[in-house]
């Protein structure tokens, strides 16, 4: 069975002309020269050369062969992939070590709960040297809301340096901190400000070139992906198309360049029959996009992070706090922690009412971790 011309990656007008001229299947284009095709289909010589190159790619062209990988090879790759710590040990455990490079995660939360703080912390933590268990990579920060403050980055970076120096004191690793200073941290965060969705789309379109020039980038955040898309669209189907296209491009970059991608999202109210629920914004179709989703929320005066969607890890929630030093664990007495977690558990159903938690199967779980 031959592939149909309609399914090829060509412009719709060219495809329409080809099909009108009778070239319905790929086999119809065999032994047709570019000049003949130009006459038959009524397209330019350049277009017909392009058509023939798409249909019959030369075998040495990169990317023309499908790349198959066995699950064992992917397992090896995953084992060697490092993750970026959030500096909140509990959250790192929930995430399976931290934010994984090569994967995408969505962080949702109400205003003020700490999404931007977490993004700034991750942008700094990406640069932690490998000898301290870090990824030693650069960061790209795409800001659509204007909430990125350099002063705050300085505070977080200085705290991270302090933390590493204390560790260096314990383990005695010399020289590792030479390339990890405030200057280098700030200069290795590449900042882009996008004011509307057009700028954001353009920026993502230009990213492949940027990433080739900066191969050390290991972290990219779009803070937030919701803001430019929430206000300007009357036609929601256009919004869906653009958002999903954008997400697929980012997923491709994540996989090709081994970058951790974080997208932050807002929360919105979904009205049901007799009550309302707080759900992530951008609609239900957007909910399918990211393979992992972390929801940050308040419970009284305590902030919690809940992993509500993941293909790898169990759904769990942990408390965290934000101080002048950045994103951290909570230091509470054990009883207080248990009390706040148990009261939060009864309320996690409002966070995701349709899910049942995964059943605890301690024996197998321990073996695997």
């Amino acid at each position: 069975m031959q592939r149909e011309v309609a399914s090829l990656a060509l412009a719709p007008t060219i495809k329409a002309k080809l099909i009108g001229a009778g070239f319905v299947r790929v086999g119809d284009l065999h032994e047709v020269s570019a000049a003949e095709l130009r006459i038959e289909a009524g397209i330019s010589l350049q277009e017909s050369t392009e058509v023939l190159q798409t249909v019959f790619p030369r075998s040495h062209e990169k990317g023309s062969e499908t790349r198959w990988m066995k699950a064992t090879e992917i397992l090896e790759q995953e084992k060697s992939c490092r993750s970026i710590s959030t500096f909140c040990a509990a959250l790192d455990t929930v995430l399976g070590g931290g934010i994984m490079t090569g994967k995408m995660i969505e962080i949702c939360g109400t205003p003020g709960v700490g999404k931007t703080q977490l993004c700034i912390q991750l942008a700094v933590n990406t640069q932690i040297p490998a000898s301290f268990g870090g990824v030693e990579g650069h960061s790209v920060y795409i800001d659509t809301e204007g909430s990125f403050l350099v002063d705050r980055v300085v505070d977080v970076a200085e705290a991270a340096l302090q933390h590493c120096k204390q560790q260096h004191g314990k383990t005695g690793q010399l020289g590792a901190l030479e390339n990890f200073t405030l200057e280098t941290i700030l200069s290795n965060i590449f900042f882009f400000r996008c004011h509307d969705y057009v700028e954001l789309l353009a920026q993502v379109h230009l990213l492949p070139d940027f990433l080739f020039k900066h191969p050390k980038v290991r972290f990219l955040v779009v803070d937030s992906i919701a803001y430019p898309f929430r206000h300007e669209f009357e036609d929601l189907s256009v919004r869906t198309r653009l958002l999903h296209g954008l997400a697929q491009k980012l997923l491709q970059l994540a996989s090709q360049h081994n970058i951790a991608i974080v997208l932050t999202n807002h929360m919105t109210i979904r009205l049901e029959q007799n009550n309302s629920a707080l759900v992530p914004a951008l609609g239900e179709s957007w909910g399918h996009v990211s393979p992992q989703r972390l929801v940050l929320y308040w419970q009284g005066k305590q902030r919690f992070a809940s992993l509500t969607k993941s293909s790898r890890q169990k759904e769990q929630m942990v408390p965290f706090q934000i101080t002048s030093h950045g994103f951290h664990d909570v230091q509470l007495f054990q009883s207080q922690v248990t009390a706040s977690i148990s009261s939060a558990t009864s309320n996690t159903t409002t966070v995701n009412a349709r899910k049942r938690c995964r059943v605890e199967d301690d024996d197998e779980h321990e073996d695997c971790l």
């Binding site: 009778g22 990988m69 699950a71 198309r241």
Partner: protein, 223 residues
């Protein structure tokens, strides 16, 4: 199928040119046109046209198959693959049937990827057959696959053998996906060392990711 010189005796370049003037370009155009009318308009011999029609129909038409024969063929060639989950198997009338497409639909986080991983693990472990997993969402995790496989077989060697039977490819847009599917269709699947291709399941997770960016809008002809 476009009309080309030499496709059958009698189909010469002059004949094709004459047909083109009447806008007859493909085999379908020719066999559906009225031969008498065509012979007048194109000043071609009626006999030639009828002869050409007959040869083309013999070459390109599909043949009907007896219902009973079809049933026998299906009975002997269809395999039923268990998903690894009893209740799901019951719902699917004992499992996934080869030759059929099963679609999983669900809200975000409802478990679609987990079912896909479970099916892949089951086909690779229990049935010991190859599986192709086309991932367009970045949701595939080999460590999660290993976790599922570990619950089915106990030795490390068996677990790795099972994982070796799962072939993964990542696609991020509709054209790459179609290309991969076409490769599979034409037998481009990497063969197992024993020489026989024992591919039994193709899992696509998910179609939504590659189709939503192109569906809708002003184009009414699909893509």
């Amino acid at each position: 199928m476009i009309l080309k010189e030499g496709q059958c005796p009698g189909l010469t370049a002059e004949v094709i040119q004459a047909l083109r003037t009447q806008n007859i370009r493909t085999v379908v155009d020719l066999v559906t046109a009225d031969a008498e009318e065509l012979s007048c308009k194109c000043s071609l011999s009626y006999k030639t046209l009828v002869a050409i029609n007959r040869v083309l129909l013999a070459q390109y038409a599909s043949f009907p198959i007896n219902g009973a024969d079809l049933y026998d063929e299906l009975l002997s060639s269809t395999a039923i693959l268990s998903t690894g989950n009893e209740s799901l198997d019951k719902l699917l009338d004992s499992g996934l049937y080869t030759g059929e497409v099963t679609e999983l639909i669900g809200s975000p986080g409802s478990g679609k990827t987990q079912v896909c991983l479970g099916v892949a693990a089951n086909v690779a472990c229990e049935l010991k057959r190859n599986v192709v997993y086309i991932d367009s969402t970045g949701g595939l995790s080999a460590s999660r696959l290993l976790e599922i496989v570990k619950s089915k077989v106990s030795t490390a060697e068996q677990q790795l053998d099972a994982l070796r039977r799962i072939y993964v490819t990542e696609v991020f847009d509709i054209f790459s996906m179609l290309k991969v599917l076409q490769t599979l269709r034409t037998g481009g699947f990497p063969e197992s060392p024993s020489g026989s291709s024992s591919l039994k399941a193709v899992i696509v997770d998910s179609v939504r990711a590659v189709l939503l960016p192109v569906i809708g809008g002003n184009q009414i002809e699909g893509m």
